[in-house]
């Protein structure tokens, strides 16, 4: 069972601010999905490996050579919160 405190904990992990008034709403819908997920328990998967790719393909690698150019100037046009090539955020440490 998902609890009120669980929703607060998941919201903290997911870094999403949720209004106290919305917690019960999310709790009910999460629980209904998890109730459906309970059907999985009866399936025997003891000798089954989890799937990472539907066709069992492994990650393609490339030579360890620099191929990209720095696009910082273009990308930093996407926000006004930059200074001296850095992104500005609230102070983390005094």
């Amino acid at each position: 069972m998902v609890t009120h405190e669980d929703v607060i904990k998941f919201a903290d992990l997911a870094k999403i601010a949720i209004d106290e008034k919305q917690i019960d709403h999310y709790l009910k819908s999460l629980q209904s999905i998890l109730d459906l997920a309970g059907q999985m328990e009866v399936v025997d998967t003891t000798s089954v490996q989890p799937v990472a790719h539907p066709f069992g393909i492994t990650q393609r690698l490339r030579p360890d050579k620099i191929t990209e150019i720095v696009h910082r100037g273009d990308f930093q046009k996407l926000t006004k919160h930059t200074e001296a090539g850095l992104y500005c955020v609230p102070l983390v440490l005094e």
């Binding site: 997911a14 870094k15 999403i16 997920a37 989890p50 066709f55 996407l78 919160h81 955020v89």
Partner: protein, 485 residues
């Protein structure tokens, strides 16, 4: 001419019966006239469209035009289009101007298509009704009190109302096929890895796939010839030769083995839906196909499997939206944690937040094995069931959706009920398979789609099977009356 397929428009352009500029003006005028009713576009790009049309007309004059040159087109607003707002229908990206083109966009630009605009969708592709958009719900042109389906609802509504001859969509759990079915279109979800995901804003990386939404299978084949490719910028792109999807469209269906998953035809299936699909099966028998029953014993688990896996993947993919480098940022954050939390709390809609919470939970310590790892194991069993089915048959057939289009607002307060509208489509994404939905008839004036499913990289066979059906029927030619003006 607004009812012409891409194939017909291409012939008309080549025969100089119309110019690309005239066509583009026609569709821009239709968007201007009708989209205030449908809300199918987020951004319309008239200046760009007319410039591209002008260039296309020059190519026709020089004799260097290809089959898609000068064809007006729309992209779902999930594809990055350089210099153009790309929002994923979210407040989080309301101010985002993509700095690059998705590979899919580049390929269709190189093929000469003319961009009319970016279509509405469920926020970050999470939804089955296009009611989750920051820019408002999209209406179904067949009945504007009903949903067009989702998440590619804007593309679907726009093509159905002939505001564009075709559009792109994406499909993570049915988001091309389900809206295609609800709007009387042909919608193809290719094999996972067939079309590049570079520049396709990620929802669930092991499930997402782009595809065409068109009036006909022939048009889908024409678009696939341009869209499908290996792309080394997409680490999940599969390097496999792309056939000419047009060359086998008219192949005979004599001896084609069609399997009917018995779980898709249970006594829970609406009798009118069952009857419509049975009529299509009969037609395939008349074309020489052999029909048999197959079984997918674990397909009843697809809803929890999908919502665990897709939510887990999206919780990882959407972690990038933190208000730091682009997109929405909350006002006056007190500290870094407040910046992240309020940006994400204010920037995301309710369905997105629901799935992020779900994904965070199933990946958390103590839950990972019971939910995420378990789901990925059952996914393996489901993939094996499809493999065994395809040892007996060439193609699977069933309804695309359990019902025709439902009313706006009908399912917004019951997420599980909403999720169940994807019951027939989701398994295909979990298994990475190709599938197409095509119009199969009408129930009480609303369109119903039929789904054909293939083994990996059999898009050509699916398009052929769909095309031969469309040569014998005219469901796909019907246009909603109020937009056929």
């Amino acid at each position: 001419m607004h009812n012409y397929t891409i194939t017909e428009l291409s012939n008309a352009l080549r025969a100089k019966k119309v110019s690309s500029t005239e066509l583009t003006q026609l569709f821009l005028a239709r968007i201007d006239k009708f989209d205030k009713i449908l809300n199918s576009f987020i951004t319309v790009t008239p200046t760009l469209a007319l410039e591209q049309a002008k260039q296309a007309d020059l190519q026709y004059q020089k004799g260097s035009a290809g089959p898609l040159t000068g064809i007006p087109f729309a992209h779902k607003d999930i594809f990055c289009t350089a210099g153009i707002k790309t929002s994923c229908a979210s407040k989080m990206l309301d101010n985002f101007i993509a700095p690059y083109d998705a590979t899919l966009v580049t390929r269709l630009n190189q093929a000469g298509t003319v961009l009319l605009g970016k279509t509405n969708m469920d926020e970050f592709a999470m939804g089955s009704s296009n009611e989750n958009s920051f820019y408002g719900a999209v209406k179904n042109p067949w009945d504007i009190s009903r949903v067009p389906g989702g998440s590619s609802g804007g593309s679907s509504a726009a093509v159905a109302a002939r505001l564009t001859p075709a559009a792109t969509g994406t499909d993570t759990g049915g988001s091309i096929r389900q809206p295609a079915a609800l709007c009387n279109l042909t919608g193809l979800k290719p094999t996972y890895g067939r079309i590049s995901r570079y520049g396709l804003i990620a929802f669930a990386s092991s499930l997402d796939q782009a595809g065409p939404m068109t009036q006909t299978a022939e048009d889908a084949a024409l678009l696939m010839n341009a869209m499908a490719s290996f792309d080394d910028k997409d680490s999940t792109s599969i390097d496999r030769a792309v056939p000419n999807y047009l060359s086998t469209l008219n192949d005979s269906l004599e001896g084609l083995k069609i399997g009917l998953p018995k779980e898709y035809f249970s006594e829970d299936l609406d009798p009118k839906v069952a009857a419509t699909i049975q009529a299509a099966i009969k037609l395939y028998e008349n074309l020489g196909a052999k029909i048999s029953s197959v079984s997918l014993p674990n397909c009843h688990l697809v809803i929890p499997l999908y919502y665990i896996i897709a939510s887990a993947e999206c919780s990882s993919n959407l972690a990038r939206y933190d208000g730091v480098r682009y997109g929405y940022r909350c006002n006056n954050p007190t500290d870094l944690k407040d910046l992240y939390e309020r940006t994400r709390g204010e920037g995301f809609g309710n369905e997105v937040k629901r799935r992020l919470l779900m994904g965070t939970y199933v990946l958390s310590a103590g839950s990972y094995d019971a939910y995420y790892a378990k789901a990925q194991k059952i996914r393996g069993l489901l993939i094996q069931e499809f493999k065994e089915a395809f040892q007996q048959v060439d193609v699977l057939l069933g309804p695309t959706t359990p019902t025709t289009a439902f009313k706006l607002g009908e399912k917004v307060n019951d997420p599980v009920s909403m999720y169940l509208s994807d019951i027939y489509t989701i398994a295909i994404n979990l298994a990475g398979l190709p599938a197409i939905s095509i119009p199969a008839g009408f129930i009480d004036g609303l369109p119903l789609g039929m789904q054909l499913i293939g083994s990996p990289f059999t898009e050509a066979k699916l398009l052929n099977t769909a095309h031969r059906y469309q040569q014998e029927t005219d469901w796909h030619k019907k246009v909603p009356e109020n937009f056929n003006l």
